[in-house]
């Protein structure tokens, strides 16, 4: 059934979007968009190291992304530089080191553009299995840790005081991010992974009444963007990864045109301000 390259791309892309939906919600809620970018950029270093040491690509990317996130945690605790400066350093340093290592390896022919922007139309049957297997694992972990994840997103100290373990939730979240980046690299590429995390979640926000609804909606909107982007790419002969992102952006803009859900409708003094 999965002989057709286009069908494989659709199945893999939808599988990935279902996974990035809930994870992307946490990226948005925790204001970690740039953090996601940094982890994604470090994937290229993972690719380079994998080629250099003939090591499994997926494991290598996962290991580097996870290492970078833990490194960031440690640097944050030292508190000498602001988080965005640290992210800027790590993000571009890992990307640059990856590029430099690749340029040294004259003996390997590497499709750099494929890694940076993805090549979803080239996914194999094994890739599809990987995306769905990894995706189900990630979703299962998120559901299992849902309450500690949500509680520590709202307030880690509150979560800690009431017996949930926010540090563990945070670490698990980072590892899940690293895993998703590793499995999605081939589909949307290193430079566009975070858009598939953030844009569907941001689109879902306007129609959501609870974190749970938002997570599910983000998955569905992401899947819709993948389908729309892939068909668009086929019709207009455009690169598939960027086309998916453009489709996601289109859905986001559409959502802006609809009337916002008024969460505080019963509350006459509703304002845009958050609680002080």
């Amino acid at each position: 059934m999965l002989d057709d390259f286009f069908l494989r791309a659709l199945v893999a892309g939808v599988g990935l979007a279902l996974t990035t939906g809930p994870l992307g919600c946490f990226v948005v809620w925790r204001r970690m968009a740039y953090f996601g970018d940094t982890m994604a950029h470090s994937a290229l270093l993972g690719v380079a190291l994998s080629l250099l040491m003939s090591f499994n690509l997926l494991l290598s990317v996962f290991a580097v992304a996870a290492t970078v996130s833990i490194l960031l945690l440690l640097l944050q605790k030292r508190g000498t530089l602001s988080t965005d400066a640290l992210l800027g350093i790590l993000s571009h340093a890992t990307l640059a080191i990856g590029l430099v290592i690749v340029s040294f390896m004259t003996w390997v022919r590497i499709d750099l553009v494929g890694f940076l922007f993805g090549d979803i139309l080239a996914v194999s049957r094994a890739d599809v299995d990987l995306v769905w297997g990894g995706g189900i694992l990630v979703l299962f972990a998120i559901v299992w840790m849902w309450r500690p994840l949500i509680a520590s997103t709202v307030n880690p100290e509150l979560a800690e005081a009431e017996g949930l373990q926010p540090e563990r939730a945070r670490l698990a979240f980072m590892l899940l991010m690293a895993l998703v980046i590793a499995i999605s690299m081939k589909i949307v590429g290193i430079l566009l992974i975070t858009s598939l995390l953030i844009i569907p979640a941001a689109t879902a926000r306007r129609f959501s009444t609870s974190p749970e609804v938002m997570a599910v909606l983000a998955s569905l909107i992401g899947a819709l963007a993948v389908i729309g982007g892939l068909f668009g790419s086929l019709k207009f002969d455009t690169p598939s990864g960027p086309s998916i992102v453009v489709a996601a952006l289109g859905l986001f803009i559409l959502s802006l045109l609809t009337r916002p859900r008024t969460g505080g409708a019963e509350h006459p003094a509703a304002s845009q301000k958050g609680p002080a």
Binding site: N155, P211, M214
Partner: protein, 312 residues
């Protein structure tokens, strides 16, 4: 008045012995000792940066103590209202959903907690749309809904208007009386706290003084820390009278004269409060000695009967 030791036979919910917390080479707080028994209200007061929140966090294990010992009852269930909590507007979170943030609850338990804090009509509102006072009530509702053994409230009435403040303190008292939970309250709001609390601990990087509200308000350390005006203000707030008992036991009269004792014709209770003054659900805290002859009723007398203020 003697220091209350009502429940010393029951093991405390939490006890701190010589606790200190150190950050970046600086002691935020040091040498803290106290324990909270079931049904006891302990209030931490002190200026900004005196280590109130740090002490509370060490007590419930959010911060690790760098010295000393913190012992908590096994399986202690904590309800916590942090000093600062901002929910990012990107997270759709209704008051209802906030209730089950850290543990599942039955619908009836949620309703009861919202009812008690007077925000049941806001159950479906998003927390980002609440006013500061409404949000504080929602946080308090969340903390009490889970029926904790120990309720830790870090400035729970911030942003709450005056009548709401009275209602919330009344509610806190009611919670203690009905559930028998211990309460650790952090406040800079001396005059109201003074009324319901069993033990006041005044912090300033260390325990500066402690005891019943009465003893603390008279202690020289307290007066040095907050200035003599704090004592005066306290007296003003607690006596809506034509004269004021100074912390040192002397009496300041409306005409500005100071005598060592009340005059025989005192007792005319003026209705006018000093500007900025407010009344609260407090019993009269007398800052003079036990032999005052001014003729006032000095006995414990809560200003409002329980249960009638929740509509505020």
């Amino acid at each position: 008045m003697m220091l209350q030791t009502p429940t010393k036979t029951i093991p405390p919910l939490v006890s701190l012995a010589g606790v200190g917390v150190r950050r970046q080479g600086r002691w935020l707080v040091r040498g803290v000792e106290f324990s909270i028994a079931p049904g006891e209200i302990v209030t931490l007061i002190g200026p900004n940066g005196s280590g109130k929140s740090t002490t509370a966090k060490a007590a419930i294990g959010v911060l690790k103590a760098d010295e000393g010992r913190v012992e908590r009852k096994a399986g202690l269930k904590v309800g916590y209202v942090p000093q600062k909590l901002a929910v990012d507007w990107t997270m759709p979170l209704t008051v209802d959903r906030l209730m089950t943030l850290t543990a599942p609850l039955k619908g009836a338990e949620i309703d009861a907690a919202l009812e008690a804090t007077g925000i049941r009509h806001l159950a479906r509102a998003e927390v980002q749309h609440l006013s500061g006072g409404e949000f504080q009530r929602a946080l308090l509702a969340r903390a009490i809904a889970r029926k904790p053994d120990l309720l830790v409230l870090d400035e729970p009435v911030q942003g709450v208007d005056f009548s709401g403040e009275i209602a919330l303190y009344d509610l806190i008292k009611t919670i203690r009386n009905t559930t028998g939970c211990g309460i650790l309250l952090i406040s800079h709001d001396l005059h109201v706290v003074m009324a319901e609390t069993d033990t006041v601990i005044c912090l300033n990087g260390h325990v500066c003084c402690r005891g019943t509200p009465e003893t603390v308000s008279q202690s020289p350390e307290y007066l040095r820390l907050f200035g003599a005006r704090a004592g005066q203000t306290l007296a003003f707030y607690n006596h809506h009278h034509d004269h004021t008992h100074l912390p040192d036991g002397r009496v300041l009269h409306a005409d500005g004269s100071i005598t060592s004792d009340c005059r025989p014709d005192d007792g005319h209770h003026g209705d006018i409060l000093p500007s900025g003054g407010k009344a609260g659900p407090m019993r009269i805290v007398h800052t003079s000695g036990p032999n005052c002859a001014c003729g006032h009723d000095h006995g414990p007398a809560p200003a409002a009967s329980e249960g009638e203020r929740r509509d505020a």
